[in-house]
């Protein structure tokens, strides 16, 4: 065998199966390339649950596929919470590192992966906010009202009907109710903190936040 023609092609599938193929003539080289394409395609075509399962087994390709799929959602949420690109990047990175280390805790029977991932992102970001003792600025420069009005791209969400009905339900709320939701859910403020921030009586905050959620639930259920 001519060693000058000797090429090694090494593939790893699910960290368990390895292929080594040696090229001794042009046809073998073709076979090697086709196997690689098939492998990459196999990872990209897996659903979230299958990918999470592979991530739990330490599959880095599956992990990066999930990153490519959902990083824009996680980054957008953390940007909404922080309104600071550097902090949002750090929180996004922390969120995906948690996905890497805790993928085995994901239970598909309890819900899909994206809400689970976004819940981790929200908690990660809010923990950071609380750690730094930061409060929302309520400035109009980054008006969250714009975010409520923007319709997400349907192709980027797994359950289009679900979020579209929610979008319509949110539009039915008054700007005041949306502001309360923004402070409570995206800024992590409690009743008392919202009352201090808006300079409202505590009872008013409780009543209006409850009314906002009840209306949202009602509208969402009817749609």
């Amino acid at each position: 065998m001519d060693l000058g023609e000797f090429i090694t092609c090494h593939l790893t599938i699910r960290q368990q199966i390895h292929f080594w193929i040696w090229k001794t003539e042009p046809l073998n080289k073709l076979v090697c390339i086709m196997m690689q394409i098939r492998y990459n395609g196999a990872v990209l075509n897996l659903d979230d649950t299958q990918l999470a399962s592979q991530v739990a087994q330490g599959d880095e390709r599956a992990f990066l596929t999930l990153y490519d799929r959902y990083a824009s959602h996680v980054y957008a949420l953390t940007m909404r919470i922080f309104r600071d690109a550097n902090l949002a990047e750090e929180a996004t990175q922390d969120t995906f590192l948690k996905l890497w280390s805790r993928a085995r805790l994901f239970r598909a029977e309890r819900g899909s992966l994206l809400p689970w991932l976004l819940t981790i992102a929200r908690r990660t970001a809010l923990d950071r906010l609380r750690l730094e003792g930061r409060r929302p600025t309520l400035s109009t420069a980054d008006d969250p009202e714009e975010l409520w009005q923007t319709i997400p791209d349907a192709s980027t969400l797994p359950d289009e009907a679900r979020w579209r009905s929610m979008h319509l339900a949110v539009q039915s709320l008054s700007p005041e109710h949306r502001q309360l939701l923004e402070l409570a859910y995206y800024q992590g403020l409690t009743h008392t903190e919202i009352a201090e921030t808006l300079n409202w009586p505590l009872g008013t905050v409780k009543t209006r936040l409850r009314a906002a959620m009840e209306q949202l639930r009602r509208e969402w259920g009817e749609l």
Partner: protein, 246 residues
């Protein structure tokens, strides 16, 4: 207050609980109530589904490409690649070998010097003993007594006026490091007084040991030597080597 009324009070807080917006005490009370109230748990599940969907309402925003690279750099395969692996270059290998050789030479020289110093101390001691023996033989009061035992022979020089005695003995066996020879002065009642310890001198055909007595040698009637533990003993405990009467 009826159970339904109590449930209603807690139920009012369920929407805020689903948003994590309750103050700590209120949240604790709702959490406790949820353990016993199935209808509130059902209500909470609906609000949780609502809040989960709210999370997806933010329009996606593409993060910088550098973030993916940073994240990839923290995965195990990248950590393995970036873990420092020391590769010996020829120069580093040569430097390392040179340092090892120099260190070995230094240790060897130190050990040689220690051995020479020890030898020097032994030779000085022997020379001193030899000079003392010659000096003693020159005194008219020195007695020369014969040492005779199994395979051992020698001379005991005793100068009672100066309270000095010297043992010169041939073929004294070498002892291991746990043992030593110990000399004893013997009084008329047979009582033994420590007169010092000494070791045989393998580099010399004979062994010499000088005894400087603090007591008057005229009070003693002989000298004996026994084998004792390396630090010596207050009284003879070991095998007798020889005994000489004055």
């Amino acid at each position: 207050m009826t159970q339904d009324q109590i449930d209603d009070i807690f139920r009012e807080n369920i929407p805020a609980y689903a948003l994590d917006a309750l103050d700590v005490e209120d949240a604790r009370a709702v959490k406790s109530h949820l353990q016993t109230c199935a209808s509130c748990r059902t209500e909470l599940a609906e609000y949780r589904a609502l809040s989960e969907t709210l999370l997806m309402m933010t329009p996606p925003k593409t993060p910088p490409a550098a973030l993916r690279r940073r994240l990839q750099g923290q995965l195990p395969s990248a950590q393995k690649r970036s873990s420092p692996r020391f590769v010996w270059s020829f120069n580093q290998l040569a430097l390392g070998l040179t340092l090892i050789i120099l260190l070995a030479l230094n240790v060897s020289s130190y050990l040689q010097i220690r051995a020479l110093q020890k030898q020097q101390v032994q030779l000085a001691s022997q020379l001193q003993n030899g000079q003392a023996a010659i000096a003693m033989l020159a005194y008219p009061d020195t007695e020369s007594l014969l040492i005779k035992a199994d395979n051992i022979s020698g001379t005991l020089l005793v100068d009672k006026s100066r309270n000095i005695a010297m043992i010169l003995v041939w073929n004294l066996p070498q002892l291991d490091s746990t043992q030593t020879y110990q000399a004893w002065l013997i009084d008329p009642q047979g009582k033994r007084t420590d007169a010092g310890i000494f070791r045989s001198q393998p580099s010399q055909p004979y062994t010499s040991a000088t005894i400087f007595s603090a007591n008057d040698l005229t009070n003693f009637v002989g000298i004996g030597v026994t084998i004792e533990p390396s630090a010596g003993s207050p009284q003879p405990t070991g095998q007798r080597v020889f005994k000489v009467d004055f």
